[in-house]
């Protein structure tokens, strides 16, 4: 079902345009802004702030195999994972698969071989599995997820109310959100599932990379997709939940099993060598959303490297390969053939390079801005004014956040009637869409590292956004607007889900992407909102759940794949204090939790 993917190199711009971010630490004479490097980083996350690592064409060839990875056919006997391997697997999975920095909706419980074997009959009882349950797993991840809730969804509570009745309707909606987990708009509900799909796809790569190619993952996502399938699989899911320690309180907060991944050693030779696994792991932690296209949507105060356009383009062959990677993921997770995948995945290209694209892009921007204006006008005064207009000011920031820039811009989505006619569950299809989008994005991000010269940060980046779709959905739900895909797919009842912007460029976005984090009282220290292992991952050892990397008063300070040494520095090599992290004690890291 999956076709091989080739990563296509991106031609460099002319020598004078081969620039890097060149960020420096703030000096006494300057006012701090988000383009300066933070003085220090306080974080237990394994990610830190990283640079992309150049890949040779041969290494890129190995990396491409990750974009067409077939599930393992069988596991073979071998030693269980070390604590360090589990940590790095989590680093590429639960700890980084979630793209929104302030969404805390994932948790993972990992069980050892004995518990995994005990759980096997329950897994075999699951309906709609993507593949067979394998014997001999060295460990198994039970992945939990809950509804998408962030400060943005809090703001949404106040959107779309009539002026006179708003005190009552706001209260009623807040109640339904809190206790019934209702979503303000459908696309907010889909975000949970898009993230689960991204996570499932990441877990397959994580198992391979963290073990240097020795282990692979067999993940099951479909049996847990949505209430109907959860009801069908109620009994085995109850067993899984019991083993994961899911309490009634957790369930009341909306936590559910989202996917299960068996991990074990495989006999087959890895398509990626151990050395390339290290480089790719470090690169995956370096990839971040790239919103700025130099010379197009940069701020006036941005430093010189951002100010001029770069003569670069995303090669059409790479776009084709990115599409192929996306369809691979769709086929893998939905279990459909490629023709069906191509028919179900709705993609509309809206960039300036397509015929009439400029007008189309302008129209989309205007539409989103109109929605923003309507949102701002409609926020109830009784809550906005007493809070110093905090809500409407936040809503206005959307105009900046939803800026669409890049050589390739796509809006992607699904048609519910068509998905259901194809025999697929729509919630599962949304998850699969997330997996497809992230794998497609990864193709571009990896290609942007091929023969990356030292004077450049990257050669291609991507921003995968739900923001414009959510904004459009607000318009649909409350102000009578149409879906972003409605014009391109008339009569097919499309639901747009994500927007991709692909950028060929050499200057990476600044590290202080969220300016509000640059709290003056912290003297330039950046507080990392990404989760620490002990916050979201735990191991079941001797019948008890033990938080990952929280032991004897110590918490994780290690950055995963730190041996690749791709930490951000200024031009002189000065590091961000605390960014490099410190290795977890060797005695603990090399221990095997279930031996």
């Amino acid at each position: 079902m999956q076709k091989p993917v080739a990563l296509v190199p991106i031609p460099l711009p002319p020598p004078g345009q081969q620039l890097a971010r060149g960020a420096s630490f703030v000096t006494a004479a300057e006012a701090r802004n988000r383009y300066h490097l933070p003085e220090s980083l306080e974080s237990s996350s394994p990610v830190g702030y990283r640079r992309r690592v150049a890949l040779s064409p041969a290494e890129a060839g190995e990396a491409a195999s990750l974009l067409a990875l077939a599930p393992p056919g069988a596991f073979v006997a071998g030693p269980g994972p070390t604590e360090g391997e589990l940590f790095e697997e989590a680093a590429l999975g639960v700890l980084s698969a979630r793209q929104s920095t302030n969404y805390r909706g994932h948790r993972q419980v990992t069980i050892g071989a004995a518990d995994a074997e005990r759980l096997r009959p329950a897994l075999e009882g699951l309906l709609h599995r993507e593949g067979p349950v394998l014997t001999g797993a060295s460990h198994l991840h039970i992945c939990l997820s809950r509804h998408y809730r962030t400060p943005f969804t809090f703001l949404l509570t106040f959107v779309g109310h009539a002026p006179l009745t708003s005190p009552f309707t706001v209260a009623a909606r807040a109640w339904r959100k809190k206790f019934e987990h209702a979503d303000d708009i459908p696309t907010i509900g889909y975000l949970q599932h898009l993230h689960v799909g991204i996570w499932a796809d990441a877990i397959e790569r994580a198992a391979l990379l963290a073990s240097g190619g020795a282990r692979r993952a067999q993940a099951f996502m479909a049996p847990f997709s949505g209430p109907a399938r959860q009801a069908e699989n109620a009994s085995p899911i109850a067993e899984i939940e019991a083993l994961a320690g899911l309490s009634d309180a957790d369930r009341a907060q909306g936590w559910r099993v989202a996917l299960v991944a068996q991990v074990g050693r495989v006999a087959a030779t890895s398509p990626v060598s151990p050395a390339t696994c290290r480089k790719l792991g470090a690169n995956l932690l370096a990839f971040r959303s790239e919103r700025i296209q130099p010379g197009v949507n940069q701020e006036e105060k941005a430093p010189p490297p951002y100010q001029s356009r770069q003569e670069m383009d995303v090669p059409p062959e790479l776009v084709e390969m990115a599409g192929r990677a996306g369809y691979n993921a769709f086929c893998r997770w939905a279990g459909v053939d490629r023709d069906t995948a191509k028919r179900l995945l709705l993609l509309d290209r809206i960039d300036v390079l397509t015929p009439g694209g400029k007008e189309r892009l302008r129209e989309v921007r205007r539409k989103l801005e109109d929605v923003t204006d309507q949102v701002v006008d409609g926020i109830p005064a009784w809550i906005d004014w007493p809070t110093g207009r905090a809500l409407s000011k936040n809503a206005l920031r959307g105009k900046k956040a939803f800026a669409l820039a890049g050589q390739r811009i796509y809006v992607g989505g699904l048609s519910r009637p068509e998905v259901e006619a194809a025999g697929l569950d729509f919630t599962h299809a949304v998850r699969v869409f997330g997996a497809a989008a992230s794998r497609s994005a990864l193709a571009c991000e990896l290609a942007g590292c091929i023969d990356l010269p030292p004077q450049c940060d990257l050669l291609a980046g991507i921003c995968l956004m739900a923001g414009p779709v959510n904004q459009d959905d607000i318009g649909k739900q409350f102000y009578g607007g149409k879906d972003l895909l409605a014009e391109a797919f008339p009569g097919r009842d499309p639901t747009s889900l994500l927007v991709w912007t692909l950028k060929a460029k050499t200057v990476a976005d600044p590290i202080g992407n969220e300016e509000q984090l640059m709290n003056a009282r912290r003297k330039g220290a950046l507080v990392d909102l990404r989760p620490a292992p002990h916050e979201v991952a735990s191991l079941r050892v001797n019948g008890e759940l033990v938080p990952m990397r929280q032991r004897d008063g110590r918490r994780n300070g290690e950055r995963a794949f730190a041996d690749v040494d791709n930490f951000v520095t200024d031009a002189s090599g000065r590091e961000i204090a605390g960014n490099r992290g410190s290795a977890w004690p060797r005695a603990w890291r090399e221990a095997r939790p279930w031996s």
Partner: protein
């Protein structure tokens, strides 16, 4: 003079605080005072947890100093020593560990002080601590204490160099306000300046100060496998670490060994270095 014990004596906080000094003339020598114990009792679990050591076998590099603490206090509070203990500063620490000490080994110890040398603002005493394991002198620590009761020479000496080195580790520590009390329970060092800000104010400090020994132990624990089992560690305590505190720990290779640095993040003056320690393998 030599004090002999079966086990290190318990010296009360009251004895420590009421210890009086006496004027010492520039040419006067301090007498040698030595204390010995035939048996040192081990209970490293709480210490290891408090300082972040992953295991207690072999013993943490800094733990023998805690084992010999009773002997150290017996020497420091001896009437022949002309200094008060309130107000002394732990300026430097040298540790030479010739071999790792295993948890089950029979340990004995001795501690001595002899003489002093003038410093800029007072005099410096070297307190030697030797811990023997199975009859071998496995661990030798030299604690340099600055006392203003001893005459100084006013001469400014060069500070610890701040040469750049490539980092292997760099991480932030958030040190909670009760860390001094927790380390006191683990080590037996109940000096009031470490326990609470009100107690610290009585001694002229704005806030409680973290024990220098904890800072050193935590740094050694963080450096983990970068510290060889047989090594010489030379540490300088450069500024106080107020509680609660935020510091950055950095370490990396330097001149055949490793350098460990703990830097105060919120320090307004100077480079904020709290501790610099160089470790070289033997």
């Amino acid at each position: 003079m030599v004090l002999d014990f079966d086990r290190p004596p318990r010296v009360s906080l009251w004895t420590v605080l009421r210890k009086k000094g006496r004027p010492v003339s520039p040419g006067e020598a301090c007498p040698r005072v030595e204390a010995r114990a035939r048996v040192l009792d081990l209970d490293p679990a709480l210490y290891a947890r408090t300082c972040g050591f992953p295991s207690t076998d072999p013993l943490p590099l800094t733990y023998p100093a805690v084992l010999a603490r009773g002997l150290q206090l017996a020497v420091l509070t001896h009437e022949a020593l002309p200094i008060r203990l309130a107000g002394v500063v732990h300026a430097r620490q040298r540790i030479e560990q010739r071999r790792p000490i295993r948890a089950g080994e029979a340990l004995s110890g001795r501690v001595w002080i002899e003489g002093f040398r003038p410093a800029r603002r007072g005099g410096e005493l070297d307190m030697h601590t030797v811990v023997s394991a199975g009859g071998d002198e496995a661990w030798h620590g030299v604690t340099t204490i600055l006392s203003r009761d001893l005459p100084g020479d006013g001469v400014k000496r060069p500070g610890v160099d701040d040469i750049p080195f490539s980092l292997r580790r760099s991480t932030s520590w958030q040190i909670p306000g009760d860390m001094g009390r927790r380390y006191a329970r683990a080590s037996g060092d109940y000096n009031p300046i470490h326990l609470h800000r009100l107690a610290a104010r009585l001694f002229g400090f704005p806030r409680a100060i973290m024990h220098g020994w904890w800072t050193l132990a935590r740094a050694v624990a963080e450096a983990d496998s970068d510290i060889p089992s047989a090594c010489v560690l030379e540490a300088s305590f450069l500024s106080p670490l107020f509680l609660p505190g935020q510091v950055v720990f950095e370490s990396g290779p330097l001149q055949g060994g490793s350098r460990l640095v703990v830097r105060n993040k919120a320090w307004k003056k100077g480079d904020g270095r709290v501790l610099v320690a160089d470790v070289t393998p033997i």
